[in-house]
Symmetry: C2
Subunit: 335 residues, 2 copies
């Protein structure tokens, strides 16, 4: 029983999704799946932090509108981001007057928010929920690394924080076609990585831990899913994850993808090892994957949100970088 | 239905609690209720941030030991703190290898972690959970305000961040004597406060919102509870909360207390307007209140965790300080 894959008994459907991204993401291969974008990195605001909050606000507004709901019909909102004290989410949703449970899971936040939202519906606390996560290249860069003006050169394993926000409205609905069917919470795994420019290596062991626990409890094989999506390991982490799983006897097959690789053209867009940040898996799922599920191109997807649990202080204090990875399964139609 | 008080159907009992505090807190009136304390503000570590993680580790270790459990018998841990990216909680529990869902609710985190843990038991995801929250005066002071060496003079409304951590183990247990019976998630309320030295004023409107929503949905009156505990408004916030509730027709009666007032002798300990920080309500509840429930001195308690959702950037960028307040009801024996 304990720590096993949690299978939702209620039919918890995705009622609507919305994704808002920045210019670089809008120039990438997933362009047509995003609802809104801005050529202005400040989204009309006077700071990057306020820009990130504005993306949160816009993504929630669009998702609520698509769901044909009013904000007061949402019972509970779950969300978080990378800015200190998750301020972007606070300021992005504070005008809506929706009960709000704040989360922190670094880049795993979006999967975490979907898992917990589904749990709140399963237990009857809510009927309709909102999950949102965001990140902004500029607010993250200056908080975690250097002032942008410094023009720091990046290492090959460094990922690019996605400027984006994604929002999903879940509801209890027996007739739902796309539903959250399973949730497997992640365990913190510390592989001893200390390089803050190699988050992929820090997160891959936690992702492997979650995937190995998942596949040890199910008869399904990786190739039976339409997509196994990590969010977001980047190219380096993806390579390490494949190796870790392979050495444990799990072949992730050609169905394994990483949101940080999907969102950019990694060959032409100068994004290092690919995308990262809470907004990466949030916008890739809410935009691209949700669309593939709606259109029937995908019917069974595992989303594994992967977070690197560091802050600039812990790095300066020579701590290692632990990772965590939360898994949610999303299926089209009934099994 | 929607947004109403959530009443747990399962009997979700408190199996054990532990509280770890610093020297100032151990010199206060609740001294005998705390499990561990240290005269060394660094708890044997080399930084204050690591000291806070050590308090988290100790409080979890003691609570697990008191519960006569092994860490691998805990299905799910919920926690968070005030340090950037909730790093104290990460580093405090990473050795335990327990599935971990990270939260951010500022000083409301402990009540949030209890509400969500109970929810995870209610829906069947977990049978046994751990909720933990912490804060440290020194890590908070230098992160939110000034370097300690600066010796900044404080305003009369400023609260003192509690050095402490509290941990509660919940379980599904029909025979439990002390149980979490209700949960009412808070809504972000922004009253336009901009003074970062007056968190009480920023949080009181959110606390009033939650209490007014609670009492509008129940026939119970404040005087029928043994304690209505805000955590942590301090003296100024407490005064404002009484006024806000009173003007809305709700008399909080003599059963209303604030954890930030209880933990110190506010007249002699030079703590300004009282205690604050995630560790305040966490240690006051896990130490003092849990003991009162066990001994039968209290039988029906409302804990309203109150959080001020700011960060140093949002203050510098002239944003207001929104608040949020999550309510959990804890009862002795069956109703």
């Amino acid at each position: 029983m304990s720590r096993s894959i949690f299978k939702f008994e209620k039919t918890i459907g995705i009622r609507s999704c919305a994704a808002v991204v920045g210019e670089l993401e809008f120039k990438g291969p997933l362009k047509k799946y995003f609802d809104l974008s801005s050529q202005d990195s400040k989204f009309g605001m006077d700071t990057w932090e306020k820009a990130e909050a504005e993306m949160v606000r816009q993504s929630a507004e669009v998702a609520i509108k698509k769901a044909k709901l009013a904000a007061n019909e949402i019972d509970l909102a779950f969300g978080g981001d990378l800015t200190n004290q998750c301020a972007s989410t606070t300021f992005g949703i504070k005008e809506q007057y929706i009960p709000y449970l704040g989360l922190y899971g670094a880049c795993s936040t979006f999967a975490l928010s979907m898992g917990l939202a589904a749990m709140s519906i399963e237990c009857g606390l809510a009927q309709t929920t909102l999950s949102v996560a965001s990140s902004h290249f500029c607010s993250a860069e200056r908080q975690y690394r250097f002032p942008l003006e410094y023009g720091c050169q990046r290492t090959p394993t460094a990922q690019t924080t996605v400027t984006g926000a994604g929002c999903v409205i879940l509801e209890e609905n027996d007739k739902a076609k796309i539903k959250i069917s399973e949730f497997l919470p992640g365990i913190i795994v510390d592989a001893g990585i200390t390089d803050a420019n190699n988050m992929g290596a820090a997160m891959a062991p936690a992702c492997a831990d979650t995937l190995l626990r998942y596949f040890s409890q199910t008869t399904k094989k990786p190739e039976e899913f339409d997509a196994i999506l990590s969010g977001d390991l980047g190219l380096e982490g993806k390579r390490i994850l494949r190796e870790l799983c392979s050495s444990a006897g799990l072949d992730l097959s050609d169905r394994y993808f990483d949101c940080g690789e999907l969102i950019y053209d990694v060959n032409s867009q100068e994004v290092g090892a690919g995308g990262s940040g809470c907004g990466c898996s949030a916008s890739v799922f809410s935009g691209y994957i949700a669309s593939q599920l709606r259109e029937g191109n995908m019917k069974d997807v595992l989303l594994i949100g992967t977070g690197a649990l560091l802050n600039p202080n812990t790095v300066l204090q020579k701590e290692t970088i632990p990772g965590v990875a939360h898994l949610v399964r999303i299926q089209k139609e009934k099994i």
